[in-house]
């Protein structure tokens, strides 16, 4: 079975639960395939948790959920060593982070200290407690959600930490037709309970390896760099996309190409993903806010402005 079909099966599976959000499911897969993490930003109740659970079930992965609250401590995330009087030793009790797929709910509600413990684990794919480093089992995929409407009592994520999320996705409300279908399916039991896994974890790891081998032509690379550089020169932008952002765009484009059954990246892939990769990486000046311009709009503008490479580079 080729990668495209495998991945489509997963996405079809998710679609059974999350109605009309195929693109979100795809993007989540893209993030997972390129060892990245997703920041979901939306109002409560649009199915964020459901999406992650469906994803976890479809790939047969271990699902953990951390509900972030202001009083949550780092040890509540990564785990804690507890003295066992019987053995006269400290026994490590792993925290919820030691899973395959983690839902970090309302991440901006907790203190920066706890946030950073999660983000560190995301970046390193390991946790260090009492001087002992422990690898988090692979695949490791964090989907963090943040609630954009409640600012009271929240700790906004600093720029450096936002940069660690590969993609930022907004769920959005379903259409009325889709919403009716949601009601329809939820009448008797939640459909998530009946979901079966369609690929194994080993297959998922294999797909991750394949995504790395997707060809990124020189022209595409220069296109990505052009886009990233454009964000740094935009008059509305206070802080543009970092080189890590360029890498994120390339990796996610590779995964997306795999998902679309291609073994090379096209400018379309890059353009499609740029919105999700750049959105949270561009810090706007206050002028932009006054003018009502969002980071997404700036990305869009840069995309229409930057020349798409259509010809082989001379000398290749």
């Amino acid at each position: 079975m080729n990668p495209k079909d495998q991945l489509n099966k997963v996405i079809d599976n998710i679609e059974k639960v999350i109605i009309g959000k195929r693109d979100i499911a795809e993007l989540s897969m893209v993030a997972m395939l390129s060892h990245g993490h997703v920041l979901l930003e939306d109002v409560p109740g649009v199915g964020k948790t459901m999406l992650v659970r469906a994803l976890a079930k479809s790939v047969g992965a271990d699902f953990k959920r951390i509900q972030f609250t202001p009083d949550l401590l780092p040890s509540d995330v990564v785990g804690v060593s507890i003295y066992n009087p019987k053995d006269m030793e400290f026994n490590f009790r792993p925290g919820p982070i030691m899973g395959n797929i983690i839902l970090a709910d309302e991440i901006n509600r907790t203190s920066p200290k706890t946030q950073s413990s999660l983000l560190e684990a995301m970046e390193e794919a390991s946790v260090t407690i009492d001087g002992v480093t422990m690898q988090i089992p692979k695949p490791f995929f964090v989907m963090a959600t943040q609630n954009p409407i409640e600012y009271e009592g929240t700790y906004p994520l600093p720029e450096a930490q936002l940069d660690r999320f590969l993609l930022k996705i907004k769920m959005g409300y379903p259409t009325s037709k889709e919403e009716m279908e949601v009601l329809n399916r939820s009448q008797l039991s939640m459909p998530i309970e009946d979901l079966q896994s369609v690929i194994s974890l080993e297959e998922l790891l294999e797909l991750q390896r394949e995504a790395k081998n997707i060809k990124v032509d020189e022209t595409i690379r220069s296109y990505i760099v052009d886009l990233a550089r454009q964000t740094r020169n935009d008059p509305y932008v206070y802080l543009g996309v970092s080189p890590r952002g360029s890498i994120a765009l390339m990796k996610s484009a590779q995964a997306y190409a795999l998902l679309k059954g291609r073994d090379f990246v096209t400018p379309d892939d890059v353009q499609y993903l740029a919105k999700f990769v750049f959105g949270h990486r561009i810090m706007l000046r206050s002028e932009a806010r006054y003018d009502g311009i969002s980071a997404e709009e700036i990305t869009e503008r840069i995309l229409t402005k930057t020349k798409v490479p259509v010809q082989r580079l001379v000398g290749q």
Binding site: P267, K305, T306, Q311
Partner: protein, 731 residues
Amino acid sequence: MNSIRKNKAFMAILYILVFLLLAEWLTPVITLTDTGHKTLFLVFIGISLLMAFLQVHWAISAGVKILFIMWFLINVYTETAFFSFEALGFILSDLRINVEALFSQDWAQTTDIFRTVLFFSLLWMAVYLIHYWVSFRLSIFLFYILTVIFIAVLDTFSPYNGDTAIVRIMVVGLMLAGLLHLARWLEGHRINETIERLAGFIIPLFLMVAVSTALALYLPKAGPLWPDPVPYITSFSGEGGPGPASVGRIGYGVDDSELGGSFLGDDTPAFRAEVEDGQYWKVETKDVYTTKGWELSEPGADPVLYSNGDLIETEFEPGAEDESLNAVLEMEQDFPFVLYPYGIESIQMEGEIRYSYSPVDQKIEPLLSGAPYEPDAVEIQFNQPTYSLTDLRETTVDKLAELPPEFDRYKQLPDELPQRVRDLAEEITMNSETVYDKARAVEDYFERNDFEYSLTNIPVPEEDEDYVDQFLFETKRGYCDNFSTSMVVLLRSLDIPARWVKGFNEGVQVDSDKERETEIYEVTNNNAHSWVEAYMPGVGWMLFEPTIGFTGSSEIDFDLDIESSDPEEQELPERPQQLELEEEEDAAAAASEGSNGPGLWERISEFVSEHKGAVFLGAAASVFLAVLLFLKRQRWLPKILVPYYRRRNGKQTFEKAYIRLLKQLDLYGIKREDGQTLMSYARYIDSFFGTKEMTRLTASYEQSVYGGRPESVEWRELKESWENLINRTSS
């Protein structure tokens, strides 16, 4: 990214070219302002450019430049040593004077030293600006254009001669522009090139410039459309006169050793003549033809002195009229000679004036107590000579041989005179029997053979060219000097004694005095003229006027026994014969010239000048057609492209064909935006045409370019889709 700017060798070439270009700016400025020390200024530019090239820190570079300027000032303007208090004091005091002058707005008070400093600052700025253009903007076009305009304007409106400078500028500028374009192109495509591979671009560029320059140098060039305005400007500003330059101002000159070149009209009055009829006013004759012009042979006889009212003996017998005529000349310019009409008898002036008549050149010079005198008014008695036609008919050729040796100097011809001039003289006079008829045949030759009278666009003969030969066979265009000299040379090659006469023609009648039955003529510099005198054996010297449009002639007494219409009847049958002759001659000349290069070019330029209208219309039509074809290329290009790409099968063919299709679609009016991907464009195209082919082609193209697998694309399978689309664009 900036690799090409970091390539020292490449940048060094650029800076050397820039230096050459700047030197071309400096040269005319230095020449025209009479500034010395050009080398030192060049050294300054050189140092500045070198430091800019080496990216010396600005403070060091500025220090070096200031030191150089100081050294220059002290070295050039003072005697003191460079490192001395005197020198420093000198500079400081000069600075004080100039600052004061500046603040009091007394511009004339500023010293040369200060102006030199300003000039240096200008050079400094120029170097900085060009350095910026070359190293940062990678663009020199504006400066290049300005240089060309600068030199062209100076060449046109100032004495500076930019003939070679403009060629050098073209070469240097083209190379510079080419190299900078290459640099921009490399940067634009982010290509890092080694100098070895750069050579692959640079050598063809230099070769191309060299070849086009060589070609341009050897191609024929059109003459100037307007006469050079410089003599005009200088003559108004009162500086200098016509030098050896190619254009002079008309008027009575003394030096005739190098004839040719264009003339500008000049209506400065020379004198006023009150006389019964317009006369040719003779000044002198010249006898030695040098292939370039006229000179005077060594004086053989001493001048003869006359007093007021004495009968002056010239070689022209006064006519047999009952009463001699009176002419009064009021001079408006100072001439140290007397302008006299044919048949002069005596001269009258105020004062104790003696007249020196020289038999060598027939010049009459008034002398006041032995010194040359420039008269204000001259009164002349004269009686126009008449010639008996009967006598003229008896001027048989055999009489020429009996002429005494005094006439030899009027038969002189240079050894280099081309044979074809002699042959032409023989041909012209083939059917004439007497010397007089021969002279008349030569006189009439010019008018009957499409010669053109013109003051402008007249060449000066080259080193190895003969003035007469050039006029008779090549240009056929000229003014009095050309016609008269040619007639003298043609007559002499027939052994007929002839000489070249200088003077003024009758001028313009401006008034008349009814009481005294005289007319008043104004003679200006425009009326300076030259004509011919030839010796008719047994009759004497006679005036001939070969120049087209001039009316001077000898008075002939038709004293024949037969009917007066006879001479005309005699002439009539000659004409057609003569015309035939000319045609044959032309054909022969064309044939002999057709075999070599210059003849061909001449004939082409002749054709162009003859069919100016047609050539212009043709050029305009072809330009129009070319523009039309270019604008409508979307319609016809596919007809060529389809068969071309159909037959091709190379690896790159598909990619090229696809790019061609994109261009064609662009022309069709469906433009792809810069930020639009090929696939989204393809979908749009397909929805526009209702096809699926563009998406299909694009998928293959993406695979080839982005996927890096051109070999996986089969052009043969895609041909049909491609042809289908490209044909749609032409409909």
